[in-house]
Amino acid sequence: MTQTRVMKDTLATSPRVVALNGASLVAEAIRQTDPDVVAAYPITPQTILMEAFSQMVADGRVRTELVTVESEHAAMSVLIGACAAGARVQSATSGAGLAFMWELLWCASGMRLPIVMHLVSRSLSAPLNILGDHSDVMGARDTGWVQLFAEDGQEAYDNALQAVRIAEHPEVLLPVMSAQDGFSISHSVERAEVLPDELVRSFIGTYAPAHSLLDIERPATFGANDDRQFFALHKRQQYEAMERALGVVSAVGQEYGDLTGRSYGLLEAYRLKDAELAVVLMGSAAGAARAAVDKLRAARVPAGLLKLRLYRPFPAAAVAQALAGKRAVAALDRSAIFGAQGGALFLDVCSALATHGAAPRMLSYVYGLGGRDTVPSHVEQVFRDLEAVAREEPALPAQRFLGLD
């Protein structure tokens, strides 16, 4: 690690306060969780994460076997094999790397393998763009992975540790994708608290899978083929595991809070309770949104923010409860999906509200594509639009592009 480390306390049992970027914080989290196998392929902006981790391996600071594969598809293939062999495994990727893994994302979740993947999210080509947005992670939203979003390096670190517990929970047994925004988090050096190694070790515990390829005396067959009778049954079962992840994510977030003072739920509401107008988003733009809320509140605009931490499984009931009684709600998507009536997050929020009997006016925005910054005035504009539709003024276009329209 090249970043300056500021030690708050020299005792190994106390947290260290550090100045690190998001990528390095997650590299540190991987080191502390000490996976048996890591397989990865370098891609911008994930590269600095894997470089930092490779150095840890080279310096003997982890026991991990690092497999430097020839592609992301191979990285996921190696992890599926290693995980089925009873190893605790992790990877990291970005953008096109995740897209290349897409086929295997379904294999990993369908085989119920608790693989942890750190995502430094990036746009998808074309045009080629190496910068941050959520196109990659949203493209994998239906692949059966639990998906966590971080707002800053601290959350990325905390999520990385909790991801191991969520994935391996016997009620879940699903792969987990822990995302941080490319560059704006991955490359931003910020203050963060890093747990002592011992505490991480006791928090994540040991991994004891029920079946393993290396259990030679009890030969198991992994990845069999299903006929029309069994396929639907296995998918039905997988659906149930995903539903159970909701409770497990909450419980693990609570337990983590008891250990560290930083509790995590499924979502985070900011000045939302008495708000009439609400913005919903995920990731690093939450700070700009909070600033916009504060400014509008000062001007007596009843604005509030809902930041989602968990996107898959979608915490529909919690979202509906948090947004109950709002007059107008805008969902802000950091990815463009084409041909739908709004962004992916927007559609999820709409369905959550509709199935829970709430019917505020809804607006859909796309923001921050390919590394564009999102500033408070952008979010203020969203609230102005919400005010307008709440007053029943003429409807706005189904899809708006923040800062472009």
Binding site: D36, S77, L213, G223
Partner: protein, 312 residues
């Protein structure tokens, strides 16, 4: 245990019957021979294909060894993950240190075509595993489509015999030489007819310190259009016509395993299978002649490579 059938017959068959491979399929014969040859515990990864589909229709499995299938193209990467897990867990004291052999099976589609990158990567990384290609010279699992292992002139459903094109126009890829060019410790070609040759090669392959590759010709009744009982016989004819020479490359040294006492003409090979029947028409006679020239050329090249590596 010596490689003697009576001795071997005392060993448990690690591939159970009740699989759904076609009657007369040679793939399961090869798999049985491979598993009989290996004396240590094995873990198998299988590419998508006939073998995978036929041996693992849930809730049934024919495998009596740990087995995994993930996708079509990545069996080599998957087994390299299993092997890495073993190395990691043993080194950390989480698993007892015992010799385990890691095998990957893939058809020619999985090996020559869609999985070449994954295989090449795993060989370069030096994982300790043996990759066995069950080469039936086309995509048989999906119903006989051409692969880069399909011989020139061969009929398949995507290289059909038509009014203007007489089957596949391109010669097959020499994947065995490509594997040897990775400078891995052991590469070989074999057939199920030569069970002793195959089993000897398998034992050498799993014993080397690093990756190894064996390309096994596996006749297919459906795709090659031959009778159900002819698979073994044809795998011998392939060797006798020098269509499929038996050789090995040990630490870079090429060695011929068998020199046919009389090299049979390619016409015998062509006559033996329906996939070549159009080549017997008078207008295609020049193709037969060209194929003979190709086989002769490849055979001479192999002999030169083997001579350069030392006497037989």
């Amino acid at each position: 245990m010596p490689l003697n059938l009576r001795e071997l017959s005392a060993k448990e068959d690690l591939l159970a019957p009740g699989h759904r491979l076609c009657a007369g399929c040679t793939e399961s014969i090869v798999v049985r021979q491979v598993l009989l040859a290996i004396q240590e515990p094995v873990v198998v990864a299988c590419a998508t294909g006939c073998l995978e589909i036929g041996t693992s229709p849930f809730p049934f499995t024919s495998w009596r060894v740990p087995w995994i299938h993930v996708a079509f193209e990545n069996a080599a990467a998957v087994i390299s993950g299993v092997e890495t897990a073993q190395r990691s867990l043993v080194r950390q004291g989480k698993l007892p240190d015992r010799p385990v052999r890691f095998l990957a099976f893939g058809g020619d589609g999985a090996t020559y075509d869609i999985g070449l990158q994954w295989l090449s990567g795993a060989l370069e990384r030096g994982h300790h595993f043996t990759y066995i290609c069950l080469n039936n010279e086309a995509y048989m699992n999906t119903g006989i489509q051409r692969s880069s292992a399909t011989p020139r002139g061969g009929w398949t459903t995507t290289s059909p015999v038509g009014k203007v094109i007489p089957g596949k126009r391109e010669p097959r890829k020499d994947i065995t030489a490509i594997m040897a060019a990775h400078n891995i410790p052991y590469v070989a070609q074999a057939t199920p007819h030569g069970w002793k040759d195959l089993m000897t090669k398998v034992r050498k392959a799993v014993a080397v310190d690093g990756p190894s590759f064996i390309n096994v010709l596996s006749p297919c009744t459906r795709g090659w259009r031959h009778e159900l009982d002819e698979g073994i016989e044809l795998s011998k004819l392939a060797v006798d016509t020098c269509i499929w020479p038996l050789f090995e490359v040990e630490s870079g040294v090429w060695k011929l395993s068998h020199r046919p006492s009389r090299k049979k003409p390619i016409l015998e090979w062509i006559k033996s299978q329906g996939r070549f029947s159009h080549l017997l028409r008078p207008e295609n006679q020049h193709l037969v002649e060209e194929l003979q020239v190709e086989v002769d050329h490849d055979w001479e090249k192999l002999l030169r490579r083997c001579d350069a590596g030392g006497p037989l």
